[in-house]
Each structure stands twice: as C-alpha cells, then as structure tokens.
Symmetry: C3
Subunit: 167 residues, 3 copies
C-alpha cells in the first residue's frame, strides 16, 4: 500500500501527473472526485478533467464523505482523490468541523489496503488575504497538507508540469 | 541549442539568475523585453532591470510579437525573454487568443538555433482570485508554463535567490 | 556559526521545522519573536506557537529592533527568529526604511557567533495584488529573502511539512 500526496499551484499539471502515477499502478483505477458542478466555470473544469480520462477509470463522486468513499473503494485498484482543497471548500460551506474531518481522513488513509494518490493545491504563498474566511480556508488547507504529508510515503511538488519529489 | 525556463515568485531573484545563465553562454546576449512602461511603477521596475545590464547586451522589445522577435534574433548569441507573464498580460489586454499564442510560441522555441532563457512568474499558489479576469490569467500562465516546461531542456525554480533545478 | 533560512507558504510547517532545527543544536535556545498581539487572531496564533514550545526556551520579543535582539542574545545558545515577514510588516507600519533595515540585518547576521535560524514566508507566488501597499510589502519581503538567502549557509523550503534544502 502507498499514499502519495501531489501538491502545486493552480494549473501546474498536478492532476495530470497524479493520473499518470495512478495509471502506472496495477488494477482498475478509481477517480474519487470532490468537485461539485455548481456553476458554468466549475462544469467546464470538470468536463476538461473528464475528457482526459477514459473508460479505464471508475468514477466515485465524494464532495463531502471522502472517508467512506475511500473505505468503500478499498481492496481493488488504485484511487485518485482530486482534490483535497475542493473537499475542504465543500466542508467549509457545509459547516463541518475541518480539524475533525482532517483527522478522520488521516486515520482512514493509514488503514487503506489499495494505493491512494491525493491531489492538493498550494494556497498559502501569497499576501495574507483580507477576507477572514479566506484566511481560515488557507490555514485549514495548509494544516491538512501537513497532516497528509506526515502519513504519506511520498510527497511531490509539481511546478511548470515538472514533478519534484520532496519526501 | 537549449531552452531554459526560469520560474519563481515575485522578487525571488529569477531575472538575476536568468541574466547570469545567459552571460555564461558564448556570443553577444540579446534581451527580449516584454514589459511596457505604461505607468511610473513599471517604468521604475524596467529602469532597475536595465541598470543591472550593460553594453554587453543587445535590446529587443517585444510586448506582443514574441515569436517574430525570437525568429529575427536567432542564429547569433543567446536570448533572454523576460518575462512570459507580462507577455500574457499584454496579449490579454490586446484580446489575442492566449491558447493559440502559447502554441505558436512553443512551435517557435523548438525551431530556434541559438539558446533561449525564458523567465516566468508563479502566480497560482494563492487563494482562488475573486476576479474572473485574474482567474483566466492565472490559468493561462499556468498552462503556458507547463507547455514551455514540456519543450524546455531545463526548468529551474528560484526561491530566496537560490536556483533549484526541477527538470 | 551558521545561518539557516527556512521559507515556505502559510501553515506549511516552517516554524515547526525551524524549532526542530534549533532544538537539535547545543545550548539553551532563544526564541526571538517579531509578532505583536494586536488582535484576537494574532493572539491565538502566538498562543498556539507558544504552546508548542516549553521551558527549554528563552524568550526575547523584537517586533522592530531585531538587530539589537541578535547582538544582545549572541554568544550563548542558538536563536530562532520567527518571522521576518512579520518584522517587515511592523517596520512598514512604523514607517522605517525597509531597505536600510534589511542591510543592517544582513550585516548583523554575518557578525553573529551563535547559530541563527530565521523563518520567512513566501508571499510572491500569487496574482499581483491590486493594493499598492501589498505590492510594496511583497517586493520588500522578496528582496529581504534574497539578501538573507545570500548570506545564509543553508536555505530550506518547507512544503506540506516536508523540508527541501535549496542551498
């Protein structure tokens, strides 16, 4: 079993790299999507990601209940979780306890039998946001990445489409 | 021939590192500037960059027509393109087709005979911007960096003035 | 003597890594805090950082006069400066000359006898801020990181809690 965390900026090629990693593993891959098609822009992004994948993939949407999605899909092929920051956004709007959800995710990760590749976004390399909710989100995303990074076997930073292994 | 992409955050030392790389190559270097002096702040930035360079450099401004600037200056010394994100900004305001321009640039890069060092800015490591144009720009900059990174022989991330080779 | 610069995004695990580095050095560590508890959010952050440290640490607040804090605490155990970007923020509000203060800091760093670990934040990987003061701050933070990086024996980028040595 292995846990791989892929991080990077927006449009850095994180998802593409994550898909390549999953496709190189044995077994039918499962795509665990946290995105919700709430507006046209998100619909277009989701469609662009789907267009790149094909029938080889199983699909498993999990905008909120990521832990049960992992447990349900465990034991067969590798899973791709894309992405943790959208999952956090969904949790924030659903007023869930972000710290408790992060802990439950890490506990679920370490009990998985099939491999998991998780994508996250670096969101904390800018000026401190003036918006309090944005600061909360940024803090939660940073903490989650640290916690998943701590249980991961491998952490990869993707810049300009190039993967750089940092753990 | 070689294509080197230098990326990093604002004031990370990208331009300085790029200049050092170009000056270490044989031949008279050409500086292909995409910046336009539209306001006092830009004028000051351009002047600061110019003050660091000297008579060794040839200058070739290219706020929009980067492809022809590359083709015209090819065959002699190395070229420094500083920077791709300002070029994208200019294209966006001129209402050019960003995807088509990016493709044309990559096609031009691979046919060059003299070396080229290109500077770009990482702009996607923050909170998702509320402004739609900013999101478009950020997406375009990320995609362009991926595309140029794919044809580059070398990709370097500069942090705190320190270059880190990632390809 | 050694100077170590630890950089990274918000909530990346920079401070934790910096504390581990300092605790691994001989002598009683001194924590040189630049943070000021001006509002509840800052008070909570400071309390969270303090809760992680214990009686092993000496404390030395230095919201503005970092150079004298370094000189006064020199000659015994290692020092942790957390962090340079808050120090810059304080200098900016106190209307000090940021370039002169940065030069004085670098001059002070190279004359220190006891080791120093400095934490800074990457703030320049996002879209150009619309706010002029934010742009000034971002430029000053980038330049300071470059200058400290130049005199540092080691520069480390922390991503998702994982340290990556870049110098």
């Amino acid at each position: 079993m292995s846990i791989i965390l892929i991080t990077g900026g927006a449009r850095s090629g994180k998802s593409r790299h994550a898909e390549e990693r999953v496709l190189a593993m044995p077994g039918r891959p499962v795509y665990i999507a946290t995105a919700q098609a709430l507006d046209d822009e998100m619909r277009a992004r989701i469609a662009a990601h789907q267009a790149r994948r094909d029938d080889r993939w199983g699909d498993h949407p999990a905008p909120l209940d990521l832990v049960s999605a992992l447990d349900v899909t465990d034991g067969a092929g590798p899973r791709l979780v894309d992405c943790l920051t959208l999952w956090l956004t969904n949790l924030l709007f659903a007023e869930r306890d972000l710290a408790a959800e992060g802990e439950a995710l890490c506990a679920a990760l370490v009990r998985q039998k099939s491999p998991i590749v998780l994508v996250t976004n670096e969101v904390g390399f800018g000026i401190v946001p003036e918006n309090r909710l944005a600061r909360q989100f940024r803090d939660a995303a940073g903490r989650l990445a640290q916690d998943v990074g701590a249980v991961a076997d491998e952490v990869v930073l993707v810049v300009a489409g190039q993967p750089l292994r940092i753990k």
